[in-house]
Amino acid sequence: MKSRVLAFTLAVGLGVSLAACGDSDTGASGGKITITVNGQPPKTQPFERKIFDEDVAEFERTHKNIDIQPHEGFMDPKTFNSKLAGGQLEDVFYVYLTDPANLIARRQAADITAYVKDVPHYDELQPALKEIFTRDGKVYGLPTANYSMGLLYNRKLFTAAGLDPNAPPTTWPEVREAAKKITALGNNTVGFAEYSKNNQGGWHFTTWMYSMGGDIAKKDGDRWVADFNNAKGKEVAQALHDMRWTDNTMGDKQLLVIEDVQRMMGAGQLGMYLAAPDNVPVLVNQFKGDYADYGLAPMPGGNGTLIGGEGYMLNPKASPEKIKAGLEWISWKYLNPDRMESDIKRYSDQKQPIGLPTSPPAGSSDVWTGSLREEQATLRAKYATVPVENYQSYADGLADMDKKIEPPNAQQVYAALDNVMQGVLTDKDADIDKLLSDAESKVNSALAQVK
């Protein structure tokens, strides 16, 4: 008898499992489309979570034919492929702007070209951001937030060092001079810090190159080749080397990553570092900083800046109905000028940071052009809860700056460029020519794999 029960249980269990493995579900039941979406903030961020859940409820109320199943979390490259292979990837999934190029190359995102014409205000999104989700004329996703790199500085230390916190450095020589004065304050104060491991060194080397008008990779016919082993590359490497060893304004401890630098800034021991506006709330919320203490300036040099940010793509296995429903959700939640003011206001009412050109809230996200962009800036100022004037020079400088995207195969390129950063920051006798030449050969090897 027991064995019969066991056999029955096994058979039922197997049947249920096999049914669950099936992938023929279009998500439609009784005319209602069910889609899974991620991007739901964790319970440890109760305010953001509440906002997200309220939005889901309101969207479902106004879109009776769509049922949203929200999932916690954002993009995790370590689990992305497992989720995709196991049929667990959400229909609408979050990406950093570093992800789309590879996802598109590996055909791991749905082609939404046929549906994107129905996305309201698509034409008013910044072209550079749309370009990140486009390949060969086909569209694979939508940008929802944008962070352009700038110079984040500690206004308190600027004042203490005799510098004017309302006139931050605008050129690299000025950054160097300011770093000297801040370091001279003593007590382990570091003038300027840079990342140099886990590909973050390469990421910031790229930012430096763009700011000086240089590049990392260029098209040579049909193929990509490295474009930094030149006078601009040497200038960047030499400037970093001199700040580290001649001026001694970058501290002894190197091989830093973003969290190390944020910790230093939050603790009031760092004068400046390169960052996007989204770093400011992190410094305040996670590292106990104060909004009044930070300022943001445009990238020194002013020639260009690296853009990053976030967006959403659609599961390559999603049905057309799910793709349409997913795009409705993205455009309603993240790219909705009609909700811009109410979105900003509810954050402002709760004394959440408003005034920075960044999300959250989605309504404050720096993705628009033209009149929408102007309207957004007005709303940000109207509902500001943080000192907008501290970030004004950044916002003003950004308009004329060349906004550049990451090089192809960015992570492999950054891994190779980490070495240049590490070489100049850890070796006083670093051979800059050799560092650049070695990195060039590795980057060319990585670029040769670009499809």
């Binding site: 490259p77 891994a415 980490d418 070495n419 590490q422 850890t426």
Partner: protein, 309 residues
């Protein structure tokens, strides 16, 4: 005793044979049932992933469309990657250093502990405590020890008037620094194994050696090492297999830097799989590592078999 054995193995009367047979089958079925469970677990969680990994080495996959067979292309990608050779060289360097430092120190500590007459248990505990710390905690702790500014080691060096070292910040000392961490973190287990081996050496041998006028080094050379030779050899092989898979320390402490001086095979493999999302090339790399480690494991199995025989 003989009578009991005779009674147990004596054939049963023919009338009871079916019942005994039934019982024997039932007992064996239970055993096969247990065996099946283990086999299913091994098949699902070990053999199938290994088999799948070998297949992946010759494929390009995106987990959306059918895998594409690419022959030896993933291996060619690896051999064209300048970091591939560097990673193997670094891994062998780490293994070599770990053998010199991580092999000798625990053995020396075990000998000292074995000689102790008092507070032996206390020192055993002290030596073993690092093993109980999670590896990432150890790595973060040592990152502070190695901090070139206010770090523990440089503070000590400065206190005695010596120049501070760059530790993890220099390509010259980074790997050695990682070996010290790995040795400290894992020496507790090795020390206890050596200690157990030392305690199997009969005390009379040392007494006889002392009567013959043997000094400390001679007792070590002619008594201790010959009697622990097998354990030393086995530990050396297991250590080679373990240290060639070093990952946590370079991942947490240096990220492979400075200047690729601590990029190990596993760290590069991790980058291919989870940073570049190139599972085919990552699998090809793991297959190569599998072959190398398989050779050492085969040697280990052969040695233990010889010993048993």
């Amino acid at each position: 005793m003989t009578a009991v054995l005779t009674r147990e193995i004596a054939p049963a009367p023919s009338t009871r044979r079916p019942a005994r047979l039934q019982r024997a089958v039932r007992e064996n079925l239970t055993a096969y049932g247990f065996l099946c469970a283990a086999l299913v677990c091994f098949a699902l969680f070990s053999w199938y992933p290994i088999f799948r990994g070998i297949l992946l080495s010759f494929q390009q996959v995106n987990f959306v469309t059918a895998p594409e067979w690419v022959g030896w292309q993933n291996f060619a990608t690896l051999f064209n990657d300048p970091l591939f050779g560097i990673a193997w060289r670094n891994t062998l360097y780490f293994t070599g250093l770990a053998l010199v430092i991580g092999f000798a120190i625990p053995f020396a500590v075990a000998i000292v502990l074995n000689e102790l007459r008092h507070v032996k248990a206390y020192f055993r505990l002290v030596v073993y405590i690092p093993v109980m710390l999670p590896p990432v905690v150890v790595a973060i702790l040592w990152k502070w020890f190695y901090d070139p500014g206010p770090g523990l080691f440089n503070s000590m060096l400065r206190a005695v008037g010596l120049s501070p070292l760059a530790w993890l910040n220099s390509a010259d000392t980074s790997m050695l620094s990682l070996v010290l961490v790995a040795t400290w973190a894992s020496m507790g287990s090795a020390t206890l194994i050596y200690l157990a081996a030392l305690q199997t050496i009969p005390g009379e041998l040392y007494e006889a050696a002392e009567l013959d006028g043997a000094n400390l080094w001679q007792r070590l050379r002619y008594v201790t090492i010959p009697h622990t030779r097998f354990v030393l050899l086995i530990m050396m092989l297991t250590q080679i297999v373990a240290t060639m898979q070093v990952f946590t320390e370079p991942y947490v402490m240096t990220g492979g830097g400075p200047e690729d001086s601590t990029v190990t095979v596993l760290l590069l493999l991790y980058r291919y799989a989870f940073t570049y999302n190139d599972f085919g090339t990552a699998s090809a790399m793991s297959l190569l590592l599998f072959i190398v480690l398989g050779a050492f494991s085969a040697l280990y199995l052969r040695l233990t078999k010889v010993r048993v025989q």
